[in-house]
Structures are given as structure tokens and as C-alpha cells.
């Protein structure tokens, strides 16, 4: 299992993600700097969270035009698997690999807490196929621009093709839950081939060992198995 984590100036979840993946696979993923236009072949590319390029212009906008992203797009166009978390999700949307965009949270506040996610039973992704349909996960979010927005046709397409991976759901612990105003409570979406996943919640911050939840580990393990 070869995993690469892309690192941009301002990425700050790259090391957490590296530890999370290494905990599961026993093998340290490669960290690849944004200026590298060539990458060794890997099974999974991860775009980590953070504030790439200081969120200048729009979140993820400048990172999406970095040389290493060209290599990532090549990998994706050959059917390669990609995971984007938080700022990584924003970058995937800015590249156009996934449809829609993430705008300011409805209540204009940075939200940092655990949320409940529901895996959508009709998703069509090999990355998530080892999880039970409808599986519920507790994973933290930490963002200011996580309010998912897409044009009507794109939303319709996402629904019809089973490209919605996760929705925020109510839970006894966290209440009725849509933390940011996201359209249809969308927390994560998939590409048409189901091999590119973008999500706002941070699975690398829920791997046990002092974290309140280990559901992120469960999810990352499922993704790593799905890729293999």
C-alpha cells in the first residue's frame, strides 16, 4: 500500500494524517511538496487539511493550481484513488475534480467540534464498500468554510449517481446537526467513478490514542482496504 500526502505551504494536518495512515498500514506515507511536478506511482493520494496559501483568494484556489496537483489530476484520470480532507476537499473542488464549492459557514463562525456522520447507503464507491451501509461515525470538524454549495444540476447528478458519501446527522450527543449550513447536510462527496472522496470532517483526528473517537481510524482503514 503506497500512500502519498501532498503538502502545501500552510497545510497543517499532513503529519497527523501521516501518523494515522502509518498506524493502520505500518508503512509511512510519502510527504510530497507542492512544487514537485512528478510523483512516484502510489495507490492513494491524500490532500490534508490546513490553510494552504493562507486561504488567499479563496480556500484551496491557489493550491489547486500547484504543480503537484497536476500530477494528482493525472493519477485521478487513470482511476487512481484520492482523499481530500477539509482544506484538501476545498482544493479538490477548486480543481473541478469534484463538483460544487464550499462557502462561509452559515453562522460566520469557525466551528470546531465532533459531529455525527451517516454514510449514505446508496453511495457507489469501492473506497467505502467495506463499511456497513448507513454506518454512523463520530468525527471532528474544524472549519470556517465548510458550507457545501452546488448548482441544482450538479446536486441532482450527485444524488442520482450515489455520489453523496456522508451527511451530517442528528445524534443524542451533538443535537440536530448541520454545523455549517451545507446544502442537504452534505459532509462529503464522491467523484463519478467513486474513487475520489472529499470530506470536511477530519478522520485523522479520530484514531483513538487519546482522541475521544476512533471512528476516523475505522474510516481510513476502510478506505485503505478499498484502494488495495
Amino acid at each position: 500500500m503506497r500512500v502519498a500526502i501532498l503538502v502545501f505551504p500552510g497545510s497543517n494536518c499532513d503529519r497527523d494524517m501521516m501518523v494515522a495512515v502509518e498506524t493502520i498500514t505500518g508503512r509511512r506515507p510519502a510527504l510530497v511538496w507542492h512544487k514537485d511536478s512528478q510523483m512516484d506511482p502510489v495507490d492513494l493520494i491524500i490532500l490534508p487539511g490546513g490553510f494552504s496559501f493562507g486561504d488567499y483568494l479563496r480556500c484551496g484556489a491557489l493550491a489547486a493550481r500547484a504543480p503537484v496537483v497536476e500530477a494528482m489530476l493525472d493519477h485521478a484520470s487513470r482511476g487512481g484513488a484520492v482523499l481530500g480532507v477539509c482544506n484538501g476537499f476545498q482544493i479538490l473542488l477548486e480543481t473541478g475534480l469534484l463538483p460544487g464549492t464550499l462557502i462561509r459557514n452559515e453562522r460566520l463562525k469557525f466551528v470546531c467540534r465532533s459531529v455525527n456522520l451517516q454514510l449514505q447507503p446508496d453511495h457507489d464507491s469501492p473506497l467505502l464498500s467495506t463499511l456497513d451501509p448507513g454506518h454512523s461515525l463520530t468525527i471532528p470538524i474544524a472549519h470556517n468554510e465548510g458550507n457545501y454549495f452546488a448548482q441544482k444540476d450538479d446536486l441532482e447528478m450527485l444524488k442520482q449517481n450515489g455520489q453523496i458519501a456522508f451527511k451530517y446527522t442528528a445524534s443524542p450527543a451533538f443535537g440536530p446537526d448541520n454545523p455549517n449550513g451545507a446544502t442537504d447536510d452534505i459532509a462529503g462527496i464522491l467523484s463519478a467513478n467513486g474513487r475520489v472522496l472529499g470530506m470536511m470532517p477530519h478522520p485523522e483526528r479520530a484514531i483513538g490514542n487519546g482522541h475521544p473517537s476512533s471512528d476516523g481510524k475505522l474510516l481510513l482503514r476502510a478506505i485503505l482496504q478499498g484502494v488495495a
Binding site: 462557502i103 460566520l108 449550513g181
Partner: protein, 82 residues
């Protein structure tokens, strides 16, 4: 050539920032304020033979980077030195 690019949110796209500013204006007594939308302006210089060429290049820049056309519209003004 000096170029001004105005980027605004498309109609129908929620603007939480605009809404917060609107309620601040209203609480300051500007009850006539309505439909506040916040955009951004980018100014730059473009080397080009003429204004229409500069306009064309600026539009390409908007499409590839400066605007997110999922939610934003842009307009371009080229200050013609002639």
C-alpha cells in the same frame, strides 16, 4: 494597461457575510439598507497591444483562477490610456 476586475456572488448564492453586514447597518439606523452582497475587486496591469486583447486575457484569468464560476460572476474594466 490597468485592469479592474469585479467579482460578485451570483444571485441566489447565500452570502452570510453580506447578511451580517446588512443587520449591522440596520442596527446602526440605516433601515433603508437591503440586499447587501459582498464581492471583491482585483486590480492589475496587463501588458497587451490593445484594450480588447487585455480584456480577453483578463477574462481567461478569471476563468482559470480569479473567479469561482460555480458561485461568482465577474466583470472586467480596462482603462484605455488613449
Amino acid at each position: 494597461m490597468e485592469v479592474k476586475i469585479n467579482i460578485s456572488l451570483k444571485q441566489g448564492v447565500l452570502d452570510p457575510q453580506g447578511r451580517a453586514v446588512e443587520s449591522a447597518l440596520i442596527s446602526l439606523g440605516y433601515s433603508e439598507a437591503n440586499n447587501v452582497r459582498i464581492g471583491k475587486q482585483i486590480t492589475l496591469e496587463i501588458e497587451a497591444e490593445d484594450a480588447s486583447r487585455a480584456q480577453q486575457r483578463a477574462a481567461r484569468m478569471c476563468e482559470t483562477l480569479l473567479a469561482n464560476t460555480v458561485i461568482e460572476d465577474y466583470s472586467i474594466e480596462v482603462a484605455d490610456p488613449s
